[in-house]
């Protein structure tokens, strides 16, 4: 540690503690709201169940018992998220591998041009493509379908997935490929039996990143889902009613939406951090 005076050390510890509080407080506060009824919410701030307010599970019960609503959206989010993340990882993995191993030349475009072209798609604001996509999807009947959303999220995550996998594959030495090729393996076999197993940590990271993006995505879901394919973010965002927001229900839904993400962070946060430390920070 670079010269740190005692007071500076105290300041650092204090600030980090403060930031930890800032990170956790919104989650905790939302949790307390989810245990209140309208009297508990409008009757002034209260913070600790049983101590300064009487908790009730009404809102939790209501949200889960609502037919169609929460459970449908939760399963939509899970199915669309997992499948689209898998698709993105696969298509991105193939492209990333291709770009790291072969020299492509399409007219003036070479590998790096193709890689940038793919990555640049991630910078394109989604609102720039949604209007024609809406017309396209309605012509072929993909509006409000899980499959339509899976397609969209695969496209949405593909650039990052391809880029991440490209980085991983570049770190795997070429010698191993060559050895396999000398033994007569085809490109696809090399990919499957040599590169993929070696890139497994990269695949997992790419999958997780894609899953989180798909789970959290808002604009596409807002436009392309109505009811059957509605995902959690849209269910949550749509809680403003003509008769005033039902804060207690909203709190429950917000918590349900982020719960899997908190779990992922708790379980895989260190690993993700390790990946970033190992390479992405360069």
């Amino acid at each position: 540690m670079v010269h740190a005076s005692r007071s500076l050390r105290w300041f650092v510890s204090g600030f980090l503690l403060f930031w930890a509080f800032v990170v956790l407080f919104p989650l905790y506060w939302t949790f307390t709201i989810s245990l209140k009824d309208s009297a508990g919410i409008f009757g002034g701030a209260s913070f600790i169940p049983w101590v300064d307010f009487e908790p009730t599970l009404d809102a939790w019960r209501r949200v889960f018992l609502q037919p169609g609503g929460t459970l449908l959206s939760l399963s939509n989010s899970a199915i669309i998220g997992v499948i689209s993340a898998a698709f993105a990882t696969i298509t991105g993995g193939l492209a990333g591998y291709g770009l790291s191993r072969f020299r492509y030349k399409f007219g003036p475009l070479r590998n790096r041009d193709i890689a940038f072209w793919i990555l640049s798609q991630r910078m394109l604001p989604p609102v720039v493509v949604v209007l024609p996509l809406f017309v396209m999807f309605s012509t072929v009947g993909l509006i409000d379908s899980r499959f339509g959303m899976i397609l969209l999220y695969t496209m949405f995550n593909l650039p990052i997935a391809a880029w991440l996998m490209y980085q991983y594959f570049t770190q795997i030495p070429l010698d191993l490929d060559e050895a396999a090729r000398i033994d007569g393996a085809t490109d696809l076999q090399v990919f499957r039996h040599v590169a993929l197993p070696l890139a497994r940590p990269g695949l997992v990271a790419t999958f997780i990143v894609s899953l989180v993006f798909a789970w959290n995505e808002f604009l596409f879901a807002l436009i392309f889902t109505f009811s059957q394919a509605r995902t959690m973010p849209i269910l949550v965002a749509g809680q403003a009613t003509q008769h005033g927001p039902q804060w207690w229900d909203i709190a429950v839904m917000a918590l349900i939406t982020v719960a899997p993400l908190v779990l992922i962070t708790a379980l895989l946060g260190r690993r993700l951090l390790g990946d970033i430390l190992a390479g992405w920070g360069k």
């Binding site: 009947g141 403003a240 009613t241």
Partner: protein
């Protein structure tokens, strides 16, 4: 190969759905309704009852209020078969019926005993008709009401002090000037807020503003609130409209400190506790569960009027002997319609006629024990107003039910009632108004500036949608000759 595809398609489409003698076994209806307890919850038990009687299934699709119109419109335009029954506002008829997205229901309605069309109040029928055909069967009929805090008003100390200060006795406000005085008095003299009104963006603020504007401009013809019926010139920035918005801006000072965040949900949570002297809302405040209501507090009446009205044609203010009190049918009232894409129209209409029937509808319009919320449906049938017993069975005290029904009926049966806008683009026109009003309330613009800007936007919307056609439809929606 082709055979396989066809087979798959056949399997996917399932057997053709035909009602058997008993009912609609195997039919699943998708019902779109606003999210939250106000509209979905009260009808759920009756929808279940219908499911049991007919063997059909109903799937609720809940949509947030601000997204109902956009969602339904985009699904209609995309020609996706998403819903069999949609619970919508007549305000959207111009766009939805006008472009052929809804099924006309006249034939089914005629002679359907359960619908019993003639029992529905005429005002609540008219709003559901578009260019001569009926597209919506009402489940509700809306009118904006004014509320006063009976406890405060009956306090002799306040009565005396008020009269001393303002020179007239304290009572339910008959004019918006009195409303202002009362709000000022109680916000200064008591813990309670002067008044509660919806003022948040994208809630019910534009309806509140319109209900304040109506008496300032209405001469009982219907067009005065929105457009000149000769050339679609917006009237929204007339001196009458501006004055009404100035009144509303004044209330910000007398309301609760966070009144700019208020929507009717807040009002319904707080007014019945006695937290304010006055409030504006639909007839819903009366329906709040008794355990969260101080019955001594709630007094109902028509919205106030004005002593002088702005005459658009003469371009000047006209003094009146009697206050001009014109109720406003804000949002017109929820009702059920059937999209043309629905493959289950017969079952859909059966559900609708079941719900709207006198026997069933009186139960949900009088429901008082709705979870955490007032019911969003208000009485719309003559029989609702006559059958007081049904109300007492739902847990109302007879006296309160009588006063509630009496005041609501008085508004709905007034000599003239201003209906809400129904032409194509209504959603966009009203959203522009909502933006203007909230911006004036927040003090970002003066009322005049805000409404001038709204008028400008209304002109742009009209031009974009086609002035001639809009003019024709506007006139038709008012029942004026071509």
């Amino acid at each position: 190969m082709l055979a396989v595809v066809l087979l798959l398609l056949a399997v996917a489409c399932g057997p053709e759905e035909r009602p058997g003698e008993e009912g609609f076994e195997g039919v699943t209806l998708r019902l779109a309704v606003e999210v939250g307890p106000a509209l979905g919850n009260p009808i759920k038990p009756y929808v279940e009852q219908w499911e049991q009687e007919t063997g059909a299934q109903v799937q609720f699709v809940e949509i947030p209020f601000a997204e109902i119109f956009p969602k339904l419109m985009s699904s209609f335009q995309a020609r996706t078969d998403e819903y069999d029954v949609v619970i919508i506002l007549p305000t959207w008829l111009g766009d939805m019926a006008g472009r052929g997205f809804l099924e006309p229901l006249d034939e089914q309605i005629e002679g359907d005993e359960r619908v019993d069309w003639d029992d529905i109040l005429p005002r609540c029928q008219d709003i559901n008709v578009w260019e001569g055909e009926t597209y919506i069967v009402p489940l509700d009929c809306d009118v904006f009401m004014s509320y006063y805090n009976r406890q405060l008003f009956e306090d002799p100390g306040h009565q005396e002090a008020f009269e001393e200060r303002y020179g007239y006795p304290l009572g339910p406000p008959e004019t918006w000037d009195q409303y202002r005085d009362i709000a000022e008095y109680f916000s200064e003299e008591t813990e309670a807020a002067g008044a509660m009104e919806s003022m948040a963006r994208q809630t019910q603020t534009f309806w509140t503003a319109l209900s304040r504007m109506v008496p300032y401009v209405s001469r009982g013809e219907g067009w005065e609130l929105f457009f000149d019926p000769d050339d679609m010139t917006p009237l929204i920035n007339s001196p009458g409209h501006v004055r009404a918005l100035e009144d509303m801006v004044e209330i910000v000072e007398y309301g609760p400190s966070n009144i700019l965040e208020f929507d009717v949900g807040d009002i319904r949570a707080q007014f019945p506790q006695g937290d304010a002297a006055l409030a504006l809302d639909w007839a819903s405040i009366g329906m709040i569960p008794p355990d969260r209501t101080n019955q001594e507090v709630i007094g109902f009446q028509q919205i106030p009027g004005v002593d002088r009205v702005y005459d658009h044609e003469a371009g000047e203010w006209v003094e009146l002997e009697e206050p001009n009190r014109v109720p406003f049918m804000a949002a017109n009232g929820w009702g059920a319609a059937i999209p043309v894409t629905s493959p289950n129209k017969e079952a859909a209409f059966d559900l609708i006629s079941f719900l709207t029937s006198t026997e069933i509808s009186v139960q949900f319009v009088s429901m008082r024990d709705n979870q955490e919320s007032a019911v969003g449906y208000q009485p719309f049938r003559r029989s609702h107003f006559e059958n007081i017993d049904a109300w007492t069975e739902s847990g109302w005290e007879r006296e309160i039910a009588e006063e509630y029904l009496d005041q609501t009926l008085q508004s709905l049966e007034a000599d003239f009632v201003q209906p809400d806008l129904r032409i194509p683009g209504a959603f966009e026109y009203l959203d522009a108004l909502d933006a203007g009003v909230t911006s004036a309330l927040a003090g970002q613009q003066t009322p005049q500036e805000a409404l001038d800007q709204v008028a400008e936007q209304w002109d742009q919307i009209t031009d974009r949608l086609g002035r001639e056609e809009q003019l024709r439809l506007y006139r038709a929606s008012l029942g004026l000759e071509g």
